[in-house]
Symmetry: C2
Subunit: 336 residues, 2 copies
Amino acid sequence: MKANPHIAIVGATGAVGEEMIKTLERRAFPLRQLTLLASARSAGKQRTYQGHSITLAELTPDSFAGVDIALFSAGGGISRDFAPKAVAQGCVVIDNSSAFRMEDTVPLVIPEINAGDLKGHRGIIANPNCTTAVTLMALYPLHQAFGVTRIFASSYQAVSGTGAKAIDELAHQVRDYTNQTAPKPEVYPHPIAFNVLPHVDVFLDTGYTKEEMKMQNEGRRIMHHPGFRASVTCVRVPVFRAHSVAVSAEFETPVTVKAARDVLAKAPGLDVVDDPTHNSYPMPLQVAEKDNCAVGRLRKDCALENGLCFWVAGDQLLKGAALNAVQIAEELVRLV
Amino acid sequence: MKANPHIAIVGATGAVGEEMIKTLERRAFPLRQLTLLASARSAGKQRTYQGHSITLAELTPDSFAGVDIALFSAGGGISRDFAPKAVAQGCVVIDNSSAFRMEDTVPLVIPEINAGDLKGHRGIIANPNCTTAVTLMALYPLHQAFGVTRIFASSYQAVSGTGAKAIDELAHQVRDYTNQTAPKPEVYPHPIAFNVLPHVDVFLDTGYTKEEMKMQNEGRRIMHHPGFRASVTCVRVPVFRAHSVAVSAEFETPVTVKAARDVLAKAPGLDVVDDPTHNSYPMPLQVAEKDNCAVGRLRKDCALENGLCFWVAGDQLLKGAALNAVQIAEELVRLV
């Protein structure tokens, strides 16, 4: 990879695309050129990047000529259609959709955990599911130290994980409440304001949702741990930004809260926020717009032999999406 | 107990007290007289009951003369002070606080589960914790059929569980958001609007909260199952009314989704709402102000050998508090 690559963002007007632009800017990514791609509807709009104005272009099969790295975040369909075309034009694709995550030839990477998997990529690199990424930021260091066997987890997922329209929907429904008019669900099948929906992504025949199984499926690949089991309930909550996850984790070897805290305190990209006597624990409002995830509520699990409970929160638009994608791009540049 | 008892409500102006009055009225409880007791501040206010106006009286040590059954919901301190005084005056106390729940001589009762424990009470009967009650409405029938060993659970608890001031706080903070002013937390240590707080009740030295341990401690007493283990994370969410709980439950004997559904379909006080292909699952907005709890998202747990995942929701002001207390009073009348 060139030291100063030409970067493209596919889905530049979406909730994640917007964060990708901001993250590249904030981290002063050493890019030579930035191309912003979107639907025909958004083409022609202007976006400022480091003081320069960039005109959004329409995504077409020819969009990737001269582009070194393309960050895709425009849904699985766009990724499946356009990522192979981009690769054929010599571009490396970092894909935020779930389209390629389970393909053996596609590295699925959280740089703090398995950056080594980037070697030998064949043009497409997958960015993990947001809830999985936030959870693994705390679980993987514990796995390295104590050997995780299985987890039981429940998520509290923000509407921005669904996209910009879902953010508007929550805001509108809250105004509807204030004005005492009935909420009109469009993005979600039921009102999300003052409600919780045990429904994220589509249902499988097993009764789990796809989202729920990503923790186990993607966790196995990222942690190189084919025996890892995860029973998860994914729930959408009326929070704008940042996902939280309650985890009961079982380990092969005994684990104490002190030993776990020592491990987590040294983990990259993670803050330990765990002082309950002073009402200090991770919360969505606190981690929103922060790069680091936060872990707290550490306690010995009372229903497992070698078990630990924890609560982890992270900005799923950042570590769960845009930040992780940009970190992968940084790794690629480092591999020059 | 008399067939037409004189009933008193202690804490008649609170969120639960208000529901107790409505529940007695709605169920046409065969009461001879209703006395409404509150703090000095509320004494003198009027409340209509079945077309009759009742003047709220101040709670004093002499309030219970001639009262047959007193429903207490004014906090543990009031219960500890006044319940023994009421019993000394010949009154049976049904207490919604946690003050007496773990005392061996005090029955802790969910009528659908252990009404038999009411026999031999010594004047005080405890109403269980709201989250525990909602969870056990689905767990106990499964326990009878398959023998539960342990559960891993996470709650999504509504602000009305904290009381009337917390309802106001969420409403105010949402208006603050709409008006773009900073929220001012008073009831909770952090903003609750557009946030989630992994903090319900006080923290214990183990790192669990008291609320979290109620599931195991009260569950053991109510189910007569001293070996039951429950690892729980209790979380406050910006929902006005009705708690939800995600549960992974392990059983002694194999359990299928079909067998579980058959058991749950016959369980009293519980609706099976479980048709994910039509986006049908229990939600707080759906169970609010309903007597029955609702269970759904039934699936074979992928990280347990004999395991079942489910999602249960219930109006914690009703089954978790006022309804259960009134049902206990109904049982007492039945025991005439």
